[in-house]
Amino acid sequence: MSAPLVWIVAPGVAGVLLFFLRRWPRLAASAAMAVAGVLALAAWKLSVGEIVSLGLWSFRLQETLFVLGRQFTLGDAIRPILTVIYLMVAFWLGGTISTRAGWAAAPLGLCVVALMTAALAVEPFLYAALLLEMAALVCIPLLASPGKPVGRGILRFITFQTLGMPFLLFTGWLLAGVEADPGNQALVLRVSILLGLGFSFLLAVFPFHTWVPMLAEQSNAYAASFVFLLVPVMVTLFGLGFLERYAWLRNAAGVYTTLRLAGVLMLAAGGLMAAFQRHLGRMMGYGVIGETGFALLALGTEGGLPIYFASLLPRALALGVWSLALLAIQDHAPDLTFHSVKGLARRMPIATACLVLAHLSLAGFPLLGGFPVRLWLWEFLAGQSQSAAIWSLMGSAGLLVGGLRTLAAFVSGSDEGQLQVSEGRFHALLLLIGGLALIVVGVFPNTFLAVLAQIPQVFTHLAP
């Protein structure tokens, strides 16, 4: 048995089989969550390359699976990343039990994560661009709800993800030339431009970010959060693969400056636009743009890789809680504009409080999950680029203003009716757990984030 069979083929097959449970979406979601949970546990416990004993059955878990003359390799070093990915997916799938993310959420969720894991494993690793594109295509039925018109956000999402792929594939071919002649500055420049464009398309970097707020506004918020969470993480891991493999790229001075610049631009733009936003869905979109900016900023800062990995947990929690709360609010409000949600805090105290908590966490509000990683980054940035630190602080301030305006909308209005809890019981429970987790991670950051900060050891050339 090989590791790719366990973490690529098995979830893929499980996803396909779960399509047959489409009449029972809650059962399918529970089964999918169990599969993802077991795979996360397996990634944590099983050692690749060593003999594994399960009762009377013992076998060696091989690293490599051969397909059409190419290899899919999942070594022992990548297990921490697999654990994090499958845990995130398991938590997300758990949320689909209580949400209207559609009957296809559970099977498609597993298929997407299988394709994305394949993208991490394929050799030559540049073929990952094709697998990431396929994963993006599988996300489409998740994002387009039946019976509703197709929004422009979905069309732009599919367009930008597809346009990014050719740039990365062609870069792969040019890289061979750079490796042979690293002194050829014209070729290096060409590769850098193609690489930058490819990743800008995939990561929704300015000016290719427009689909993010559109998708958050027009699609099912919980389904969109899956895309917002998983796509940037996998694309970033793919990008880190580039830096890990190519010394000339790793050592090029402009790479980290460009990453930092792009990060600052996105964080500041996300914050600024969130500050003036009046739609709760789009507000989440701008929060996501700011979060992508934060990730790029962390990657572009010297010694910032542990910060990036540590930020995954608070980001996953915040996005999960934010989108769950949005779904609950959608059930009780005609739309998600500030005007329509005025005074909603009296009717939906749990959803509104958790939404504001999640928003403030992404803004880096003290004692919430997002604060420790932001503080960590600001400390690093202040020593390396004070202007970047100031701009990123302004981005966070913009998000904070957006959060406070949301809070004001929830508590304003002339509705003086009695306080009541209108959220569904299970939905409210999930929101409370998520909201509590945001506070616990913020108050005890070392307990949770220190483990994630060890993941960069996977990248031997990049780890500080």
């Binding site: 003359g69 009957w103 599919i158 367009t159 597809t162 071919w173």
Partner: protein
């Protein structure tokens, strides 16, 4: 160079002409049947240019994948014809504008192709011209529409152009399979987007 290669080579410029014609038909066409037929014919031109670099049997696979993509889109549009009717309203002037934009794009492509081909020695001028025509027209198509069928046709056109270029530098079977998968995936995603507004919402 074999006799087969020579005959394929003689087909290269006609294939570029075919690609130009089909991509313009897709851009200005108002009838979805014509547009999808043009998409299918486009893959014949793609086959002719890819076959200059790949074995014919692998190039044929690319053509068949393209035809299947066209068939999927066709079936979906038959199922939900309203999706096509929600077209841009300013048609007569819009059509002229698209045609003029296509001519402008074509001029840019034909003037840039020789210089670009010189940058990539393994790509023939015919392949570079055909690829740039498709990528240019595809991007133009994407920039002028927000209709799911047109967006998917635009994306398939851009990808087809890229495939011609990439075939000259990469001959892996896995890549050929994955690219065919991407083409079919795009068509299936497009089909879903076409029919999802008419599907019954989940309770």
């Amino acid at each position: 160079m074999t006799l087969g290669d020579l005959s394929l080579l003689s087909l290269a410029w006609p294939a570029v002409g075919l690609l130009t014609l089909t991509s313009v038909v897709m851009l200005v066409g108002r009838n979805w049947r014509w547009c999808i037929a043009a998409l299918a014919v486009q893959y014949v031109g793609v086959f002719a240019l890819v076959a200059l670099s790949w074995p014919v049997e692998m190039a044929v696979a690319k053509m068949i994948a393209g035809w299947m993509a066209g068939a999927v889109l066709g079936v979906a549009t038959i199922t939900a014809p309203e999706s096509w009717r929600e077209e841009e309203r300013s048609w007569p002037s819009g059509r002229v504008f698209r045609l003029l934009a296509a001519i402008l794009g074509g001029l840019v492509v034909f003037s840039l192709a020789p210089r670009t081909a010189a940058l990539v020695p393994s790509v023939r001028l015919e392949q570079m011209t055909g690829a740039l025509v498709l990528m240019g027209m595809g991007l133009l198509h994407l920039g002028l529409t927000a209709q799911p069928l047109r967006v998917v046709m635009g994306l398939l056109t851009v990808i087809a152009g890229f495939e011609i270029l990439y075939a000259a530098v990469e001959t892996s079977t896995l890549v050929a399979g994955l690219l065919a998968g991407v083409n079919l995936g795009l068509a299936l995603a497009g089909a879903y987007l076409l029919i999802s507004p008419t599907m019954e919402a989940a309770k």
